[in-house]
Symmetry: C2
């Protein structure tokens, strides 16, 4: 692997001085080549899908893996979106002259070589290559073995396109070895890889953080909450809870627990439980919530009934990523914040209230990448934030926090111009 | 240790909402208490110094460790400087409204709990506590055992002062255990410590990077170069080389290698070698330099003679941190850049030239925290950059690069205000 990483490092040096036009030409060529090669790519994809079917993989996994003409077009459209974004490289973040005459500029530059470890979705292969190329980085991809044939075909097309426009193909590489050992080698390649971005489940991310010597940007684990304050607009609260839980329950910015102020719980809980039951959401409730719900008829209508059980401490710490929602009644805003700080993962947290003062306390004191007042946590997303792209959502505090777009794939350096200054 | 870290974490939550006035009051009280307690502190320091003397520590180490009234006053003056700096917390880095009406603010916030591992200098204890408090962070210090008594007395005074103004003393903690094991526990306290900053030699930093699971900001290892281009102003080049090597050779922004374009080497090398020899600098030279110097009389005057030997590959990779300088003659700017990219540590690199085009190529393509045109590398420093403070010099690319002042001890979060938005 060392030889591959040295080639990526060499390519990244050449990429430092690419113009926006050169990078956009490469992205454009990548789109064209993907269309031209789409037959080979779809054939390769069929091999992967067939293998997954033979291995009796669940249909959700097959769906993530499978490509067709329309999905290929979506991928190419994504490339064109990235072309249209402004190039952040070269931006002067600040500039000043010192009393001794030194002129100091803080300039945005590429990070260098980015390592991305991900699982089965083939669109990630192209998206990631495009985002890193646009930001003047080289990328070393380590995809899952279930998408090996597809990724190989995709990368072949991308590298061919990059070469056609005269840039080094090694700006985009994928590791041929899809064993666990290739992850471990990649994340310890200090001096060759500048940052590792693991995109996957909590197991992968923990493994990477525990074993990496290269800096890591953690992404994606979200145990998110909505807190319904005593002065909440109840209709709004219900809409936001339903949206944040059910619009796409498998993603990291969906909520896992609702906290409800005790003074408003009797008004909120029966109504929202009915709506949740209609959408198939099961509840894990504390005793206070359980008592409120027991007073209601839990078979709402033909085929709609509430499934609930008492919540354990572990439930409050769990990212269900599905149609399960924990519920807890709290005596105060402070108590809600304490719960969030104890169980949250620093991803996205929302308060629903008409009380501006309570909202401000929540926004200031909840320590998370994105804190919301009267909005769904589902907006923590590069596209929803208006970044035009997303490489992941950081749940750590260094370098990048929350949605990461192009800017978050860059760093800076200081350029200092003098006329002979010494100390 | 876990209990201590939980207390630091709790204190850091309270610090999120401190006003600038509260933090400055605490810093002011810290200064007053240090003056009030200076007798106890100096007594404690004498114990440490005595122990170091008994252990026959070198005098440079004793000097770093020793405090006196004047050094105490310098430390207190440093606190007042930090009081006068602007508080970066709460700064809105950017703000925008989305088409759906969501108002998104990116706001500068504390990092949380900062762990700092350092060696013997007692001023670091106070400086670090002040910088982290000013930025709303809690700090867990892990000082060297040679300064244990001094640090204990200093921290006692600082915590007393913090308590006096009504803030939690646990904003500033020092680990009582000064064994290696306390480093290992600290750097693996994921979820309790938000960032580790190791301040020390290459051995400490490598150990931390290899074993940490908490994010690390690497500091300080500097294998820095001056490149004298073919079109250099020779007088300027010599002044800058002398300054960058000898003004303070033990620091990370001092240079370790001079690269000289072959077309100007005969004009530069004999003159600079004479000046270096007068200041006691020994050279490690390549064969081409050796031949140029052989043509000269190497005993310059009474007591001034050049000590040189042929450079090995290892010499070019070494941070001498003393009066040794490697020299190499290169055929081109590109060759100089290649050498720097191969041996440099991404700290500070300078080109001396009157050729603006060559300077721009150097500034753009040399990948280091600070790149200089016609100036000494010694300016890579928080004070020289005008930050008014410094917690270290980062040689990594994520989060912070180059001199780290107050801003580099902060992160950001997104505050999103809506009126019921859902996806």
């Amino acid at each position: 692997m060392r030889d591959e990483l040295l080639r990526a490092r060499a390519a990244s040096r050449l990429a430092l001085t690419l113009t926006s036009e050169q990078k956009n030409m490469a992205l454009h060529a990548m789109g064209e080549e993907l269309i031209r090669s789409s037959e080979e790519i779809l054939l390769a994809n069929q091999l992967d899908v067939q293998r997954a079917q033979d291995a009796k993989e669940p249909s959700s996994r097959l769906d993530r893996l499978a490509l067709d003409k329309q999905r290929m077009q979506t991928i190419v459209d994504g490339l064109h979106d990235i072309i249209s974004l402004a190039d952040p490289i070269g931006e002067v973040l600040s500039a000043w002259t010192r009393p001794n005459g030194l002129y100091i500029e803080q300039v945005r530059v590429p990070l260098g070589v980015v390592g991305v470890i991900y699982e089965s979705r083939p669109n990630v292969t192209v998206d990631t290559a495009a985002l890193t190329l646009k930001t003047g980085n080289a990328v070393v991809l380590r995809g899952g073995k279930e998408a090996f044939e597809t990724n190989t075909a995709l990368i072949h097309a991308l590298r061919k396109a990059i070469t056609e426009v005269g840039l080094p193909a090694d700006l985009v590489m994928i590791l041929q070895n899809t064993n666990r050992s290739s992850i471990d080698e990649l994340i310890r390649a200090r001096g060759l890889i500048d940052v590792i971005i693991p995109r996957g489940g909590a197991g992968l991310i923990t493994h990477v953080v525990e074993h990496a010597t290269v800096p890591v940007i953690e992404t994606g684990v979200g145990n998110c909450h909505v807190y319904v304050d005593v002065q909440a607009n109840i209709d709004m609260a219900i809409d936001i809870i339903i949206n944040a839980k059910t619009q796409r329950p498998s993603v990291c910015n969906a909520i896992e627990t609702v906290l409800i102020h005790e003074a408003i719980a009797k008004q909120v809980l029966p109504r929202v439980s009915y709506q949740l039951a209609r959408l198939g959401v099961q509840l894990r409730v504390d005793e206070a919530s359980d008592m409120i719900l027991e007073n209601n008829d839990l078979v709402y209508e033909e085929g709609v009934f509430l499934v609930k059980q008492l919540a354990t401490d572990m439930d409050y710490a769990t990212e269900f990523l599905g149609l399960t929602l924990a519920v807890k009644i709290v005596p105060s805003l402070e108590n809600a914040i304490d719960h969030i700080m104890r169980y949250g993962t620093g991803h996205s947290e929302s308060i629903i209230t008409e009380d501006i003062e309570a909202a401000e306390i929540f926004l200031q004191t909840v320590d998370a990448a994105a804190v919301y007042h009267n909005a769904s946590t589902r907006f923590t997303d590069g596209y929803e934030f208006g970044f035009g792209a997303e490489i992941g959502i950081s749940t750590q505090k260094l370098h990048a926090r929350g949605p990461m777009g192009l800017r978050e794939l860059t760093g800076y350096k200081y350029m200092v111009r003098g006329n002979g200054q010494i100390r």
